[in-house]
Symmetry: C2
Subunit: 474 residues, 2 copies
């Protein structure tokens, strides 16, 4: 490998989430759920959602332009752009093609890549594809750009509080501060109906919550086993949680992240009990002869392993939970919002450290992989990424909706999903300058977006849409 092409990975990140959210505590009350069911039971604080003005296309336009502007990347320097999403607005036209508007403005239409799809795993697939492109013989020396964008909404009922919405953009290239350890990778894929979207006219999925959780934990076990196997083969020593500084999980809700990390601790115990202290071992020994299936069902094991894992969780997992707890499930963006949380919270101490990632998409597809963290060079350094992410500020400036207003919004969106011939309210008062929003869907289902003006350039701006009207003019 040429020296210039080493350490391929994430050079820069930006995240966007809607300014509108609902408190999980208020939602418990509104739903008549028992106190703590969502906040402690699910482990969630708050949930973001799109109003009629935003969708996965507008959020991805917003975050891509924001990343390019904040890191001062010329759009002509992008040679590949891939999108991961499971929120289908069109069954044929990729979200990537809407994003091309930004690049057409700069006469750059030479941009490879389309959309990758399998539930929450699409972003990871897009990321792997982009990294492989940089390492391939067809790489042309330009940057890759990966976008994860999703809006997670559920029908009224027990799954509704597990929604969320966000878009993440990641710039890919060599000499990255967040670089792949490409040889440590454990994948597990299988055919299961744990969560799927066969009802094409509805935005809501069909979910078997219990099956999905079991599948997630089974996939985690399988990926961890393979990841450890590859690590041992290459490094010549056993892998345990002490070999990584952070563990970042796909986060549909925080409670599952707690269970997942505890499951890794239990795996370490089964693999090599001597890794644990005497007292910890004693807590887990009663479960050492359980079959796999029993172990997924056992509440006692769950409790015991979480107790053993707790002090490690606080150090190795907690820093990744900021955005997932505040925003909710972001589907493809969830894992990378958790990674962004670690970078934001810990950027000054990450150099030389290892972060292990677990990506899961129902259906099912899953991979465990790892990053090595480097200093990087401005603007592609951890401190600059953290400062551009600016998460606390972004979270603080959100607008909290009442559960009534939230339910009303979702009701309106049910009618809007797949609909044509309507205009949105165009009331952009809650949006920050620079945010793209949907203005209308015409009688041919064509979607029009505008960009909210900045204070310097007030008023809406139809950014990047000239080429569209030319093309449609034929």
């Amino acid at each position: 490998m040429e020296p210039g092409r080493m350490d391929v990975g994430i050079l820069a990140m930006d995240v966007y989430f809607p300014p509108t959210c609902v408190q999980q505590e208020a939602l418990e009350d509104y739903d008549g759920a028992s106190k703590g069911k969502y906040t402690i039971g699910l482990g969630q604080d708050c949930m973001a959602f799109c109003t009629e003005l935003e969708d996965v296309i507008s959020m991805s336009l917003t975050v891509v332009l924001s990343l390019l502007e904040k890191y001062q990347i010329d759009p002509r320097q992008i040679g590949r752009l891939e999108v991961g999403s499971e929120t289908v607005i069109d069954k044929s036209k990729s979200i990537k093609t809407w994003l091309m508007q930004i690049f057409e403005e700069y006469d750059n239409t030479d941009v490879e890549g389309v959309d990758s799809t399998n539930a929450c795993y699409g972003g990871t697939a897009a990321l792997f594809n982009c990294v492989n492109w940089v390492e391939s013989s067809s790489w042309d020396g330009r940057y890759g750009l990966v976008v994860c964008t999703d809006s997670a909404v559920y029908a009224e009922g027990p799954a509704r509080p597990t929604g969320g919405a966000a878009a993440i953009a990641m710039l890919i290239g060599p000499n990255a501060p967040i670089s792949f350890e490409s040889k440590f990778r454990g994948t597990h894929m299988a055919h299961v109906y744990d969560f799927y979207k066969p009802n094409l006219a509805s935005e809501y999925p069909v979910v078997d919550g219990k099956l999905s959780q079991t599948c997630y934990l089974m996939a985690l076990d399988s990926c961890y086993k393979r990841f450890c196997g590859k690590f041992e083969k290459i490094e010549g020593k056993q892998f345990s949680i002490s070999d990584a500084n952070y563990f970042v999980f796909h986060s549909p809700y925080n409670k599952l992240v707690q269970k997942s990390f505890a499951r890794l601790v239990f795996n370490d115990f089964l693999h090599c009990p001597s890794n644990l202290q005497k007292e910890e071992r004693e807590n887990l020994e009663p479960f050492s002869n359980m079959t796999g299936e029993e172990s997924y069902e056992s509440r006692e094991l769950e409790k015991a392993s979480q107790q053993v894992a707790k002090p490690f969780y606080n150090v190795k997992v907690q820093p990744s939970t900021l955005l997932p707890k505040q925003i909710g499930n972001m589907y493809t963006a969830s894992l990378y919002a958790a990674l962004a949380s670690v970078v934001y919270n810990k950027h000054s101490t990450l150099m030389g450290q290892r972060i292990v990632m677990f990506s899961y998409g129902s259906g099912l597809t899953s991979t465990m992989f790892s990053f090595k963290l480097h200093d990087g060079q401005h603007p592609f350094c951890l401190s600059n990424i953290a400062s551009i992410l600016n998460l606390s500020e972004k979270l603080k400036s959100r607008h909290v909706f009442s559960p009534e207003k939230f339910a009303k919004t979702l009701k309106l969106m049910e009618h809007r999903y797949g609909a044509k011939d309507f205009e949105t309210s165009n009331d952009t008062s809650l949006l920050s300058p620079g945010t793209f929003y949907l203005t209308k869907v015409d009688s041919m289902y064509r979607r029009c977006y505008a960009k909210k003006g900045s204070e310097d350039a007030p008023g809406s701006k139809m950014f990047g849409f000239s080429s569209m009207s030319v093309a449609n003019g034929y």
Copy 2:
């Protein structure tokens, strides 16, 4: 690059198309269209379609198992599997996960890759991704497998005769007989509404036929310009059609392929008139000062350039048109069915030759790229691929339906699309042994498939489904 990793490309191919088809001539008559409208106007002979027994999932199961069996590939040797499709049966669960059933049977769940989506371009995206994986640092030495599967159906009206259905499987690895010239690549992507599927409850697309054709030709021009530019930069000489032995196009209908090739000839003329004979030049000179837009509209230019291109077309394009003319538009599989046609028709003379490919997906995404053909080693050699493809035999054994029966089938499928809780007829008399077919969709939208038994093992066989029932048993 290590010597063992050179010449990455297509090692093996197999194609599957439904045994049911309708003659375009009979369809003209049935539709009350003028004689020759579909056969000469569109340039199509016949159109394949799925009955209620088949869909994109069953076709992809059939073709993947067929490829593995015919080339004697152990399913454990597959390390990556990617699907390109624009026929959405589930908006979240990838077609790839259904295919995992074949590999779970062999305890191989360590298979990367998901589905790639953008109209007819998804197969090319999947192919590029698989090739890049083999060239990347995360490659684990196993084969990649790319599947393109689509069913193209249109509402009653002028677009209906441009349907089709097929699935293609391609094995990817180093030392391939059909290897990528990865540095010659011209991509053009933009945001257009030429063909899209925003009506989520319907299988039918929204199509602007005229716009789509213009977009296709504009994209072709742009890709060809970039492809030639890269060729000239690396090879130090101008590229013209004489530098490739075959040109293979995405083929929604044959007439567009004729127009496309003529367009390349016109591009060559504009770029370097001296490439053409005096008489040919004189035919095209009246159009040399047209604006781009005028040139897409001009019937006279179309006629003149097709006339000049005709002798070259017969040699360089005609051999690729076998399957597309007989099956119709196969969306993602279309370009690779055309490639398979060249390999089938010309395998003994391809060594050392160059094939230029043009992939187009509405919305829009497009790339021109090229293959270099090599001898290969059995079973991965051109003659074996041709013999396994066995196209004439496969085409001959089809069953021709009347237009009435075809229309009735499509009417039934309109009700079946996105539906639940039904059983199919299970009348597999028209299917060949080894073909997968849909048996039912249950009340939770879960789809059950079976495999038609061979003569050695008569009766239907629920191949590879044990793992599914285990997983669903939780």
